[in-house]
Amino acid sequence: MLKEALEKKLDYDELSNCMRCGFCQPACPTFRETGYEAASPRGRIALMKAVADGVMEPDKDFVDQMNLCLGCRACEPVCPAGVPYGQLIEQTREAIEEAQEHPWWVKAVRRLAFFHLFPHQKRMYQLGGLLRFYQRSGVQKAVRKLGVLSILPKQMREMEAIIPEASSKGIVDYFGGTVIPAVGERKYRVGMFHGCIMDVLFNETNRNTVRLLSEAGCEVIIAPDQVCCGALHAHSGEREQARHLARKNVAAFHKADVDFIVSNAGGCGAMLLEYDHLLAKDALWQEKAQWFASRVKDISEVLTRLVEPKEWQSLSQRITYQSSCHLRNGMKVTKEPVSLLQAIPGATYVQLREGDRCCGSAGIYNLVQPEMAGSLLDEKMGHVAATQADILVTSNPGCLLQMKAGIHQAGLEGKMEAVHIVDLLARVQQEEKPLSPLE
């Protein structure tokens, strides 16, 4: 059953393009942790190919090994042959998902999350409202005091401890409109991708994103019909649902007729950037998907082009940067965030050793593979502590939460804070005047 599904989904040409040189291995977190060939990109591709070639049956070990992959795609930039490993692992996971019989409750949770929650932004805000109530009303305090949380696994408890204050309103509500004019001369008309979780848990980051873009000379369109990017779906083997969401987003931003589509989350950006691949076989959408993908930019790319750091306030602190895997390996954005941070007057930028290595967050990886995620995070926090930085900057919500959890666990609270790059830049850029929409 799984064998047939894999044969159908896997791109055999790309499997053959792997020449087994092994150059991917030093970049792979799970290989470095285990030293085990099967736990490396070369090994996983060999396993996929062995199944496709009929050399092995896709047994439980196979499925476990595919799930152990973080999907960080650090193997892609170092691959001489340019094998799109990220696509191969997603194809494999899609096949596994199709063939797998989950227990009823897993099915229910997955359906709820992937089909009834993430794709419906209104419900996300309602959930944000509930969470906000929990956080603000004293229930959270009471729950913590009563020790009710001890029934949760350790990694969930840690997440509960660091989750930021949720919002029941999205940025459109906040600004009261979907078109925010440029401050000064209009240089670009950009579409703001607000994300599903971003807009609820990191609403302030989204507001800051709009502000920075507008003050840099962008007319910001918060395309009203946009939905979740579908990354969580694609990584979890729900590619069909990801395609469904992709079509909605393509339509929403195409209608808005923007120069760029700006994302402030590496995980979402990398997904949006690959809509052309995702919809490559869809004759109706193919062309529009290419239009869309060619316009996707990370906020740091747009700001690097437009802002004048000389006007920023001085910040006499040590800053280090943990890059988002999907921003780096998926969107191939490496220099821009660093050059923005280096340009902050008065600040000292310290390079984080192995700041290009996955922190272990990887979507919901830290919840489903706590052991591997935990050892990656421990290693990471060792390097972070060595920088003696005051501010640890990231560029993706998952990474930000993981870094907050890391600081909490490593006892660095009070000495160091984890901040999204957008929020840090908003801090140094003096606010001109409150923004208001055009409409």
Binding site: S16, M19, G35, V55, P80, A81, G82
Partner: protein, 471 residues
């Protein structure tokens, strides 16, 4: 399939975690970096000490089970494919640097240490381990020694064999031998150290090595020189050496490679030039500057159409990009990339490149050549598709002719990749029937039951030598 009782014996030695016979593990250790080669072992064993290796070896000897020793599996000769099944012995857990001796300038390492980790450890204290095989970011030192790996610095600094001073190894009967030591001079008996270097895991299992270190060169500089004619590039190489300059790096790309690299990277390489030389020198700053000037003058005299001397680190990086991207660019063209290493005396580079081009055209294939011009070690690289059996047959014939041409020019079938499976049918062309006999005798003296890496180096049948008709 090994009987359960034997697997139980192995498990008792290394522990269940380090003795794997699940499908996943067998597939994961069924290949290395060699195209089109794969065979499943019966069991994968990952020992942590010399004692465990001795015990595993004794079990294998008692039951006549083949053992294929392996590190990162980055070799290109099929050297670690378990063609006859049996045990794959993975040494990656024995990855400790035992000692760096600054008095004797040596480093003692376990076989599973990565080559790049040795470089970093010694360079941090101003020392230098020169061998730099292309796969050094993943390759392990045990594999480098077993295959006597080369690299870009071979011309000036030699290859792995020139840096191995002593070895500890487990023999097929389970005994341990220690050869050499921290000694620059040692003529006590046959040189077993040198014999084990390049023995491809067929004689003994290397468990520790003492390597020679030298002081780290103070500076290094690089330049590019482009030529409209291959012969001019080759003459420049000869002239540089004749002028008593031994460059630290002397690499070349042929026109085919240049075009593919430019197509892939757009770094502004002129695609109408016939060859590019990448020349580097390291050492004392003054000497390096003087050498670079002389080299540039020699290239100019030989009608180089363009010379770019890097003055900054960024420029050096740019200059190196062309050579570094060669394999990446070539391997993206077609699904299967076959990287060979026919080698000739450096004076014969131009006729060898011409022979490769002629053979490539005659067989209607895509073969581009780049490599180490300074030591005549060429990498004719064929871009093909393993699924196209008709084309693969043509590729085999073409390479056969390329090996024959190399030997005709006083060269060899492999300069740094090793014999393994893929070159075994051609070994006799290089060493002759008498050479084969004596090598087989050595193998028998070490390993009378043919347990260590069987079917490597010695083919069941040698190929008939192709006779190449050339005008």
């Amino acid at each position: 399939m090994l009987p359960a009782s034997i697997r139980e014996e192995l498990r008792a030695i290394v522990g269940a975690k380090n003795c794997l016979d699940k499908q996943e593990a067998l597939v994961a250790y069924s290949y290395d970096a060699t195209p089109m080669q794969q065979a499943l072992p019966d069991v994968v064993v990952m020992p942590k000490s010399t004692t465990e290796i001795q015990q595993v070896m004794r079990v294998a000897a008692r039951h006549h089970i083949p053992i294929v020793t392996r590190g990162a599996g980055s070799n290109l000769c099929g050297g670690t494919i378990p063609v006859g099944g049996g045990i794959v012995l993975v040494l990656s857990q024995m990855n400790q640097i035992v000692e760096i001796d600054e008095q004797n300038l040596t480093i003692t390492v376990q076989p599973g240490v990565r080559t790049v980790d040795i470089h970093q450890a010694v360079e941090a204290i101003g020392l230098f381990y020169p061998p730099d095989p292309g796969s050094m970011v993943i390759s392990t030192i045990g594999g480098n020694i077993a295959l006597n790996s080369g690299g870009l610095r071979g011309l000036k600094y030699g290859t792995t064999k020139d840096y191995v001073l002593g070895l500890e190894a487990v023999l097929p009967n389970g005994e341990v031998i220690r050869t050499g030591g921290k000694l620059m001079k040692d003529v006590a008996g046959y040189d077993l150290t040198k014999l084990l270097v390049g023995s491809e895991g067929t004689l003994a299992i290397i468990t520790e090595a003492i390597l020679k270190l030298i002081p780290k060169p103070q500076t290094q500089r690089v330049m590019l020189a482009m030529f409209a004619d291959m012969a001019q590039a080759a003459r420049s190489v000869s002239d540089i050496i004749a002028n008593r300059i031994i460059p630290g790096t002397l690499e070349f790309l042929d026109q085919g490679t240049i075009r593919v690299v430019e197509d892939f990277k757009q770094i502004g390489l002129p695609t109408d030039v016939a060859a590019i030389l990448l020349i580097g020198q390291d050492g004392e700053p003054q000497t390096v500057d003087r050498d670079m000037e002389q080299i540039a003058a020699i290239c100019k005299k030989n009608a180089a159409v363009q010379i770019k001397v890097a003055t900054t680190v960024e420029e050096a990086d740019e200059v190196m990009t062309a050579r570094r991207s060669a394999l990446a660019a070539l391997s993206r063209m077609r699904p299967t990339t076959i990287l060979e290493d026919a080698t000739v005396p450096r004076a014969a580079i131009a006729p060898m490149v011409a022979a490769i081009q002629e053979i490539t055209e005659r067989y209607g294939l895509q073969i581009c050549t780049f490599g180490h011009a300074g030591d005549g070690n060429l990498h004719p690289t064929c871009m093909t598709d393993a699924r196209n059996t008709e084309e693969i047959e043509r590729v085999e014939h073409a390479f056969e002719e390329i090996f024959a041409a190399a030997i005709d020019l006083g060269g060899t079938i492999t300069g740094e990749h090793g014999v393994g499976i893929v070159k075994a049918p051609y070994l006799e062309w290089k060493v002759g029937a008498a050479g084969m006999e004596i090598m087989k005798g050595i193998k028998h003296a070490f390993d009378p039951h043919n347990l260590l890496n069987p079917d490597k180096m010695f083919a069941k049948q040698s190929r008939n030598r192709v006779v190449v008709q050339r005008a």
